[in-house]
């Protein structure tokens, strides 16, 4: 499950221990155990935590962060970062609402155009990073500001209601008792898991994150891959924005403020390295679940919102710190990470 850019053979007892500690599935397993422990704690403290209604609620409110996290995982694996995802998410619903309410464009078509606008922003990010070679942090920080400003300009700062039953189905509807947005998120995880682990494109992304220069020398079209990855990130952020608008039945230029930090936290919690070349979508998915369940459980146990932020930050630090400790032990016992 956990891919790394480098791997090395080792022999003997200690290296075996090292390999086990490095264990490609261990990060995800650790995370899953953490998730289960959190669930047990909340189940013992909150009477209605382990109810079907609460699980459906968690599922319904998971999709936005989950979907954007897919794009962010890919971007981080290549050694980049995309700070603009929150602004891009706001843009998609603003564009759709303006076209629908002011230009009488059918809502479905308006939504598609909104998604295309976000995809184009992602493409521009990719172009500036891969071709013009501007630092990813600087590029996406700039687009973060430009796109948010654009959303305000287009909407004149106003919140617009989107009262269309078909549109609301995406964010609020259920199929066989499962929230539609959750099913969509799971489908996307399966698709991207396949891409990352069973296609040359996915393997190349790990190689690019491990060493862009070596990848270039090995004949990988680094620019093209980066262009695709940032374009995908823009598209997925736009899709998340549409889900937010569908859930709230409204579009607001201020929507998804701070989304980028939640998403990066989930992805890093899931074991993806900020320096690139390492990460997994399964880990990201568990990271998304952990953060969402934490929020849910803390609200249900009536913990003050100030402490909620403290707890979420502490869990992130503990999980990542524990993983770093494990990697150090790996080196000590002869493994290689």
């Amino acid at each position: 499950m956990q891919n790394t850019a480098t791997a090395a053979p080792s022999r003997g007892m200690m290296p075996q221990l090292g390999r086990w500690l490095r264990g490609e599935r261990l990060t995800t397993l650790n995370l899953f155990v953490t998730f289960v422990i959190i669930c047990i704690i909340f189940a013992s403290q909150a009477q209605f935590f382990l109810t079907l209604e609460n699980f459906v609620n968690i599922g319904r409110t998971l999709g936005v962060v989950g979907i954007v996290s897919i794009g962010m995982t890919l971007v981080l694996i290549t050694g980049g970062v995309d700070i603009s995802v929150g602004s891009v998410a706001a843009l998609s619903s603003v564009v759709a609402s303006i076209l629908w309410l002011q230009a009488d464009v059918p809502l479905f078509l308006a939504t598609v155009i909104g998604l295309l606008a976000c995809t184009f922003v992602g493409f521009l990010n990719g172009y500036l990073i891969a071709v013009v070679r501007i630092n990813p942090l600087i590029t996406t920080l700039a687009s973060f500001s430009i796109v948010r400003g654009l959303a305000f300009v287009l909407s004149n700062g106003q919140t617009n209601q989107l009262n269309d039953e078909a549109f609301k189905f995406l964010g609020r509807g259920e199929i066989a008792g499962f929230p539609v947005s959750l099913l969509l998120m799971i489908a996307l995880y399966i698709l991207f898991f396949f891409i990352m682990h069973f296609t040359q494109f996915g393997r190349n992304l790990y190689a690019i994150g491990g060493s862009p220069d070596a990848s270039r020398l090995a004949g990988i079209a680094v620019r093209r891959h980066l262009l695709i990855v940032y374009t995908l990130s823009g598209f997925l952020a736009g899709l998340a924005g549409i889900i937010i608008a569908s859930q709230l039945a409204s579009s607001a230029p201020r929507a998804a403020t701070g989304l980028e930090f939640t998403v990066i936290a989930a992805v890093v919690l899931g074991g993806t390295s900020l320096s690139g070349g390492k990460g997994s979508l399964i880990g990201t998915l568990v990271g998304v679940f952990i953060l969402r369940v934490l929020d849910n459980g803390l609200v249900q146990t009536r913990v003050s919102s100030f402490y909620q932020d403290v707890v979420s930050g502490a869990v992130l630090l503990l999980a990542v710190g524990f993983d770093q400790l494990r990697l150090r032990l790996t080196s000590t016992f002869g493994g290689k990470s």
Binding site: A46, Q47, F48, T51, E53, N54, N57, R60, T61, F152, N156, G157, Q158, T159, N160, Q161, N163, G171, R172, I244, Q247, L248, A249, S250, A252, P253, R254, A255, A256, T257, D295, N296, V299, Q300, R302, S304, S305, F306, Q308
Partner: protein
């Protein structure tokens, strides 16, 4: 002696006649009084509809006054920017300043500069030491909404609600807290059976519709038996998030919401069919200017002005929205 008594009487009469004229003489001598005025207005931000309406109202009121020119600036929700704008106003030689700035910590520094220059200041919504305050009467604005919700519960739910959701903004200090306190006390004192303390859920809305949606989504599963739920919210966006969460959970019929603001998005929810948004206390930002500009002219012409001027709040619901905003909702108001 007789003559001196007469003289004293004449003197006293002259003094009595002249005393009422003193204020007029003082007004004519008022050092800041002029025929034309240049007034600086630094808005809180230009990114929010509320503050855009404040700016438009001030410009309209200045035009109506006929002798006022407005110099605009944007404080961008930032104290340091507000300070820089203050220096610019002084450099431009404005006669008075209307400041809408968020950072209380910068109030002293900003006001010391204007005091040094003898420039009168009106502060909107966030007080500054030495400035005339203009803004919301937060506690009473909250009470209006709370009382309206209490009356609705008395009429429609036999005077009893099972749970209360309080969508607050704890990190933003005393102003939103006063609104929430007013709403909660207004409701609890009006409703026949107040909601028990353990059924009051205080949730941090973080001032966004999404956060409000999420925390209410997380709370509703903990009150599966509650069929009469009331929600008091810090603003329209937060109220819309509560309603969206209840709708998504299939429990819209079990909730009734009030809020603060009554901005266009709030009004749209109020006039909606089968609306669960009972109403919101109006702040009328578009009318701020029509109270502020005359007050500023009074200050400049050395007439007495109250140290705090409050907005006249009204609770806006389906019954009176057409009296105030008929043009905005022609279909609803035509019915």
């Amino acid at each position: 002696m007789k003559f001196s008594r007469k003289l004293s009487l004449v003197f006293a009469l002259v003094v009595m006649l002249l005393v009422p004229l003193f204020p007029m003489v003082k007004a004519q001598d008022c050092p800041t009084a002029q025929d034309e005025y240049v007034i600086g207005f630094a808005n809180l931000t230009e990114d929010i509809v509320f503050t855009q309406l404040v700016r438009e109202g001030i410009l309209a009121a200045a035009e109506e006054a006929g002798n006022v020119e407005i110099v605009l600036a944007d404080n961008r929700l930032d104290g340091a920017t507000a300070l820089a704008n203050s220096d610019n106003f002084i450099a431009q030689g404005v006669d008075g300043v209307i400041h809408f700035q968020t950072d209380e910590a910068f109030g002293n520094v900003i006001m010391s500069r204007f005091r040094r220059e003898g420039i009168p200041v009106i502060a909107i919504d966030i007080p500054m030491p030495g400035a005339t305050f203009f803004g919301a009467d937060n506690y009473n604005a909250g009470r209006l909404a709370g009382e309206a919700l209490g009356e609705w519960v008395n009429e429609n739910w036999d005077g009893e609600a099972n749970a209360m959701l309080v969508l607050e903004l704890p990190q933003s200090g005393p102003i939103p807290a006063a609104r929430m306190q007013g709403m909660e006390e207004g409701f609890q004192e009006t409703v026949e059976t107040p909601v028990a303390d353990d059924m009051i859920f205080r949730l941090d809305s973080k001032n966004t519709q999404e956060e409000s949606f999420q925390v209410v989504s997380d709370t509703l599963p903990t009150i599966p038996d509650a069929e009469k739920i009331v929600a008091i919210t810090i603003n329209d966006g937060t109220a819309l998030g509560v309603i969206a969460a209840a709708e998504a959970a299939g429990r819209a019929e079990q909730i009734m919401v009030v809020g603060q603001g009554a901005d266009p998005s709030g009004q749209e929810a109020i006039v909606a069919e089968n609306s669960r948004y009972l109403g919101a206390t109006g702040y009328f930002p578009e009318l701020y200017g029509f109270q502020i500009i005359p007050a500023m002219i009074d200050l400049l012409e050395c007439r007495a002005v109250a140290p705090a001027i409050y907005v006249n709040h009204v609770f806006i619901n389906q019954e009176n929205v057409c009296e105030l905003y008929a043009e905005a909702w022609p279909d609803f108001c035509a019915e």
